[in-house]
Symmetry: C2
Subunit: 340 residues, 2 copies
């Protein structure tokens, strides 16, 4: 089969690999229908994380080809959406709602790779969810988004306690931030303030439910958000970048007793303990528990209540993956879908 | 009247000051019955915070002498317990349950001072709670504890989501940590693991509800707690020290998806963003919303369901305050009660 490999930072190739096989009775092998490139794929691409022949891709939808003897909830022929983290679904961490840190957790990125024609998915019951039937073609981008970027934005919005009467600030207008806007809107937030300087992302943000767009950054953004919230700050904030500046902006934008969901993978960030203390903001990050949200997200997509697939602004065949990485690196694309 | 002043780090005197008067219609003037010395008073005492003629004391119980025209819920003659932070009770932050960060918040410590014969308490309705009647003398230490140390431990336990079926780890065997144990027990925690190396504090911890005592510190403590919790870590953790080591011990002792309530005022602490992210622990600190808990805590004390006053192991008259500071600084006392 064909698969995307990151040989080294900045070097992405599409190459032949052996077809995956069932190894454990809890495995499934799926034929990938569509995959995509994640903002987090840019960390190794830019050399901020190691990249030595990484198997790329962790977002995926596809059709089950074969399952191990112990798999109960998906069967050959099912169209499935899977989480970007393998999870058993049965351990104490999974059952408490945090499958992204399952005791058997394994990142799909790196060792499995779904920017490929096929993939072996361990713990298929705990990782995959079948759609109600074969999806119409126009639903595929949205179902694919549920695999990580939507699920991650959703987690951030849930953690920020988005809901009726609440003002939610969103730091980061990348794909995850935009999905955070959509999630906050779906969860009933009254006001959604998006930080963005890009006209196209501002437009998409408004389409997803942003009520206010601010162009300030850092302390100026904090001051603007306070101005918009009686001097108090947002009830909840979504951080979707992962830098020191964005994290501090997010913390300072949130009122005392408010909630901050941070889903930008942190790079070189140190949070001053005294500021975290006196902020009295409740903070939680981590690999999103996408599997927890998948049944609900799939249903919302199936019912055409949400259209997160709008976040993809470039579609390429798998063979042209390198072009997709370049486009995201150079910010000519927000998010790239790869057809397989 | 007589009052305790910290002239400079390490120098505590009892001196004459003018009697406080009603200034605002929302004020009350109270005659202090008992006050105490807080672990946090040791930061300026030891020079880790500024101390230039500070009015000391922020925990207090007493009898209302006079109230301003706008005060509705307490009246002269009432016995009252007050929070260590002044709060209006009416702003959005107060009504959301975080009076420690009220928009009118003012620390009693520093500018008011309750290690004194009398004190003017602004926003009396939002800060003070009257007891059901005049208390028996033996209840005074426990009512006094509710003013901060119990309320702070309670907040940490609530934030750690102590409850039935939960394992709660407590880092810090000072007065706040011990109150955290008591709170976790009252909230129904199944297992309470206290880190302590002092026999007397271990004994008090057990009396308050600790089921396990561990003597390890740092990474060894983390390993021990994982050993006691199927390798997962505690469901919730209370941090009651405020150092880098204690904060990291607390974070690492908590399972993914668990909750960390940190109430040790942070000094020179920096939390690595990536570790906070991957921990997936929900973290919240801040000045405890004691006023939120006071009605419930007073009732539990009144009904003799809890005896947090046990945490005082030295009682001195106000005039001997300096001796009390020395005893706490040298750890010959856990917590000192000052009778007025």
């Amino acid at each position: 089969m064909r698969a995307v490999i990151m040989d080294a930072p900045g070097t992405v190739t599409v190459t032949d690999r052996e077809d995956p096989q069932i190894v454990e009775p809890t495995d499934a092998v799926i034929r990938i229908t569509a995959a995509c490139i994640c903002g987090s794929d840019l960390w190794p691409y830019r050399g901020a994380e190691e990249a030595d022949h990484l198997l790329m891709g962790h977002e995926y939808v596809g059709v089950v080809e074969e399952v191990g003897a112990a798999v109960k909830t998906v069967k050959p022929g099912d169209f499935v959406v899977g989480s970007f983290v393998i999870s058993c679904g049965e351990c104490e961490i999974c059952t408490a709602g945090f499958p992204g840190r399952c005791v058997h957790a394994e990142f799909v990125h790196g060792g499995i790779g779904t920017q490929a024609e096929k993939a072996r998915i361990p713990y298929a019951d705990g990782t995959l969810v079948a759609t109600p039937g074969q999806p119409d073609a126009d639903l595929i981008p949205s179902l694919l988004a549920a695999s990580d970027v939507l699920g991650t934005g959703w987690y951030a919005a849930v953690t920020a306690e988005a809901g009726p009467g609440k003002t939610i600030a969103v730091v980061g207008d990348g794909a995850v931030g935009l999905m955070g806007v959509l999630a906050a809107q779906q969860l009933g937030a009254e006001r959604i303030i998006l930080s963005s300087r890009h006209a196209d992302r501002q437009a998409l943000g408004r389409e997803f439910g942003a009520t206010d767009i601010i162009e300030e950054r850092g302390d100026a953004a904090v001051a603007r958000i306070k101005e918009l919230t009686n001097g108090l700050g947002a009830h909840g904030t979504i951080e979707a970048v992962g830098t020191q500046e964005s994290m501090m902006q997010a913390l300072r934008s949130t009122r005392p007793g408010g909630n901050l969901g941070f889903v930008g993978v942190q790079h070189d960030v140190a949070i001053p303990g005294d500021e975290l203390f006196f902020s009295q903001v409740r903070v939680q990050g981590g690999p999103a528990p996408v599997r927890r949200f998948l049944p609900d997200l799939i249903q919302r997509i199936w019912d055409r209540k949400i259209n997160p697939g709008r976040v993809f602004d470039l579609t390429l065949p798998l063979e042209q993956a390198a072009e997709g990485y370049r486009a995201m690196d150079q910010r000519t694309a927000t998010k790239v879908l790869l057809t397989v």
